[in-house]
Amino acid sequence: MVDAFAYVPAVVLLPFFSFLVALGAGKYLPKGGAFGGIAATAGSFLLSLWIATAVAGGRAYNETLYTWAAGDQFELTFGALIDPLSALMLVIVTLVALLVHVFSLGYMNDEGETGLPRYYAGLGLFTASMLGFVVADNLLMAFMFFELVGLCSYLLIGFHFREPGPPSAAKKAFLVTRFGDYFFLVGVVAVFATFGTAAFAGEGSFPALAEAALAGSGDVWTPGGLELQTWLTVVGLLVLGGVVGKSAQFPLHTWLPDAMEGPTPVSALIHAATMVAAGVYLVARMYGFYALTPTTLAVIAFIGGFTALFAATMGVVKDELKQVLAYSTISQYGYMMLALGAGGYVAAVFHLTTHAFFKALLFLGAGSVIIAMHHNEDMWDMGGLKSRMPVTYYTFLAGSLALAGIFPFAGFWSKDEILYEALVHGLNEPLLLGGYVMGLLAVPVTAFYTFRMVFLTFHGEPRTDLAADPEPVRWNVKGPLTVLGSLAVVTGFINMVPVQKVLGLEGIDYLHRWLDNEWGGIEGLSSHHYADLGPYSSGYIAGGEVPTVLVGAAVSLGLALAGLGLAWRLYNVTSPTEHTAKLGGIKDVLYNNYYLDELQVWIAYRTEDIAGGADTFDQGIIDGVVNGVSSVSLLGGSRVRRIQTGLVTQYAAMLTLGLIALLVLLGVNGGWFL
């Protein structure tokens, strides 16, 4: 039998080839190279399914494929690591990428956009980079593909580079995430310096070495005799810098709402499966390392909880469809970070999975609305689209119910599990409990803004002529929406932990078992192992596990319904009006995103002084030396030129004099003439 794992590189390379084809020959191909991209991502998707089947068959894969630099201390390699986590992620990424490619036919080609080869080349490279990141078997390789992902987001967000907004947004996304990546890069170097390897899995991997060193059975380098635990925390936080940037966590989330300037399918790809997911995936990938440092976990949990609430509040007042979704993305990734920080590894991966589907769905649904509305995104110009575009409406509704966390849609299960993990682990940890409370408070806010969006867009009477007569969309829009709509409904059932606990039905928590290597996996990369490493113990309220489950679920569901109900009352009317004025002064703060953009700009200007110093150094000393060398050389050169007189007698004389000088030098040096 042919080994599925032999095709791991092909999963990455197929979209890369579609990138090359679209780039090189896109303008000669029908649809600007779209079919190549669809074929490539479909191929990757099928291969990923095959690989996942192989993992389900009890196998795993961890191989170095290419060593591109070897030294005495360590080797720099490319490799592939396929375990339950990466196999799952491969399926998600390739599926979403495939659907986005198909949807792009409707959103880009049918809308008569120009520059399509560039667009499909970008999509291909973006997918390939993310897939390379997912299969990476070491931190350095992960970092390189992480950067490629960042580059692709820059290229795609700035796709409409002739308009003023997109290039600026692309630059912002690039710079803000780069700021986080500096820390990540330093972290990669620190990992190499500390452990001599950056491998994720296996005996000699850095999480395993860190674990051994903390247990006292290994020896690793720490700078300046720093205590090991402290140093590991520092390293963990450095790598976290990259995560915070890419996953748009506070305070580096500011790039993400601006990134809505990119074409909507790109937003779907960025938010659901690639760039933003990369950060969270990285933490999950090296969870064996993070689980060793309680301080880092607590920081992750608190940042996550805070971001979840903070971003949700900003989503409440936005007028544009995609803006609401942007803030919801930030908020939902906050939940995932909260889960990771709270020791809920499975919960985080679960939410990553469900979110990938329902957020891709919401973005594509929004894209469908945008097509219908001729690229007007203001929700106040919509209304009443429900009867005019039913497929979009019902799928969008499914996604919204999932996002709001309404039973039994996908988001309910995953969000509930996150809050549950944070609660039971947080009863003895004040920081974690704080994260839980913020996460819980974000639930009604999320439900509120989600349904405010749904009601304003689809319900009531059309508020403009455009909304009364929207442009129809074709199969290539409806198809992906239907697939994702179904997934948003059913994905939650892969991991019905509450049902299992309450009803005592064993074995229906498939995702738990999957990530616990029950079918197959790599030693040391199981959720069980992580739980053993983690610092948390569980506590229960209301007298036991089952009541805790029930109370937790009831509270979050109740809060979600409350938010939904408020939105229903305010906005599910024939002609809704703005209620933001009731917020008073808070409204301005929320409209302006807590003035964080202004703060960042202010900080950027303050750093001008430092940059000015560096500039002076560069101009004065570095350039001075360079210019000095050049002027000396030009001056010297013209002198030398004069020696070359053209008279052969002078040459002979100078030649002889030179030889004599050499003779005298060596003779005196060697004492020949004595």
Partner: protein, 503 residues
């Protein structure tokens, strides 16, 4: 090498070159009136390639390598075939092949081009002989065998004043240098009583009062080497000869002939005057090479920076590169384990240089063939008319400057690292500063070709011919320059093995 082959067959690369030269003469004698440019070029290219193939085969088979019975000596020890001789013969044969192919187009309207091919082949034979010389007498004879055809080649355009003048100057300086060299040999013979390298080395330690005589002789031999490698102060012929000569000849002289000078230097100064013994006899020739290297690279690069004409710039840059390669001799220290690395790096640099410099001069040959001017300004906008050739030229320029990702980067990097590890930080530092200077004038060419606009829209209309053979040679040299980057591992290993056999 298998044991059945007779020992003389180890010389077959040189013999092949020589026989090809004779065959060309024969053909030219029998049918003197035939316009035989093409057949001549084909025969000489085939001869050079045959020689190259045999050489490469020998290297792979391990002829003269320590693993297969060590160096093969012939003629009472006066000739010695080892890895280094094969390595350099490969350089000579490659450059010869490129040059004769390019010459086919360059001399398309020349009355009697036949002599060019035979002279080139005879010079190449002399170089191949230099690479195997193990006696000072053979060295001198072979050196003259390289020089005499070279004088004629420089003056080959008999109706061109520049060519003739350059040839005469080259001849005069060459005669002086040969005299110095020969005098040096006689002094060494007087002091040691032998011309065979191994025997000279045995006497160097026990010179006693004769060390001054031998020392003066050795410095004069350094002078002879400096002439052949175009190092200061024996370089004066080079800018004018390179500029005045037909461009394929410039390519041949600045690449192959220079490498021939280095192969002599490497062998003589490791086998006849080994460092430890020389130092014991108070003959610090490393110091002499240090001074020469420093002055040569500085003068070459600084002078190149102010030139107006591309060909003359390349001539000076060629002097600068001689300075870099001299580091291979100047950064040695007695008994150091790093000697092999630094000398091996110098050999590898000469190989890479053989391709990139030949290519650059052949591009100039192409420009002369097109009939556009000689200055930087005349090259403005050339990339629009001849993108492939200009891309190749850009590869040569960046590789000569030592920029990654071209082969010139690696060879220079290994050379400077070897010097640093052997304790010659100052040489490496000076080399680095010179490389920065060189980037300035090399990039001027690239800027002119790709970024500048032609002075007049019709300035480039002269480019209406497509010299196929020249194109092929230039492109081949560019491909080799690029491919030597991934292929640098085997090259540096062969070079270090060759150097290791010397110490």
């Amino acid at each position: 090498m298998s044991s059945v082959a007779p020992a003389w067959s180890a010389l077959s690369p040189a013999l092949l070159l020589g026989l090809t030269g004779l065959a060309l003469l024969l053909v030219d004698t029998i049918r003197p009136n035939e316009r035989s440019n093409t057949s001549m070029a084909v025969v000489s290219a085939l001869g050079a390639l045959a020689s190259l193939s045999v050489t490469v085969w020998f290297v792979i088979a391990g002829t003269g390598h320590a693993d297969t019975g060590g160096a093969i000596t012939l003629l009472e020890g006066a000739v010695k075939v080892d890895t280094m001789s094969l390595f350099f013969t490969a350089i000579f044969a490659s450059v010869t092949a490129l040059v004769v192919v390019a010459a086919h187009d360059y001399f398309h309207d020349h009355q009697r081009p036949a002599a060019f091919y035979s002279l080139t082949l005879f010079a190449a034979t002399g170089m191949a002989l230099l690479a195997v010389a193990n006696s000072l007498a053979i060295v001198f004879v072979a050196l003259e065998m390289v020089s005499l055809p070279s004088y004629a080649l420089v003056a080959f355009l008999k109706k061109n004043r520049g060519s003739v003048e350059a040839g005469l100057k080259y001849f005069l300086i060459g005669a002086l240098s040969s005299a110095v060299f020969l005098f040096g040999i006689s002094l060494v013979y007087a002091a040691t009583g032998s011309l065979i390298f191994g025997e000279v080395a045995g006497q160097i330690e026990s010179l006693d009062t004769l060390s001054g005589v031998a020392g003066i002789g050795i410095v004069m031999i350094v002078g002879g080497v400096a002439f052949k490698t175009a190092s200061v102060p024996f370089h004066f012929w080079a800018p004018e000869a390179y500029e005045g000569a037909p461009a394929p000849v410039s390519a041949f002289l600045s690449s192959a002939s220079k490498a021939a000078g280095f192969v002599v230097a490497f062998r003589v100064f490791t086998e006849a005057f080994p460092l430890g013994a020389s130092l014991a006899a108070d003959i610090n020739w490393v110091l002499a090479f240090g001074v020469l290297a420093a002055v040569t690279m500085t003068l070459g690069n600084f002078a190149a920076a102010v030139q107006e004409e591309v060909k003359r710039m390349l001539a000076y840059s060629s002097i600068g590169h001689a300075g870099y390669a001299l580091i291979g001799l100047a950064a040695l220290s007695a008994g150091s384990a790093g000697n092999e690395a630094v000398m091996g790096a110098a050999m590898a640099h000469l190989l890479v240089y053989g391709f990139m410099n030949t290519g650059a001069f052949l591009f100039v040959a192409m420009a002369e063939r097109w009939g556009i001017g000689r200055t930087f300004e005349d090259y403005a906008g050339l990339a629009r008319r001849a993108p492939v050739a200009c891309t190749a030229m850009a590869v040569f320029m960046f590789s000569l400057a030592g920029l990654p990702p071209f082969a010139g980067f690696f060879s220079k990097y290994f050379l400077f690292m070897g010097a640093i590890e052997n304790g010659f930080l100052w040489l490496a530092g000076l080399g680095a500063v010179n490389s920065v200077v060189s980037l300035y004038y090399y990039s001027r060419v690239v800027r002119a070709m790709f970024l500048d606009d032609p002075a007049t829209p019709s300035a480039l209309d002269a480019i209406d011919v497509r010299p196929t053979a020249l194109y092929a040679a230039v492109v081949f040299a560019a491909v080799a320059t690029v491919l030597l980057l991934p292929g640098f591992g085997p090259v540096i290993e062969a070079a270090e093995a060759a150097a290791a056999a010397l110490f």
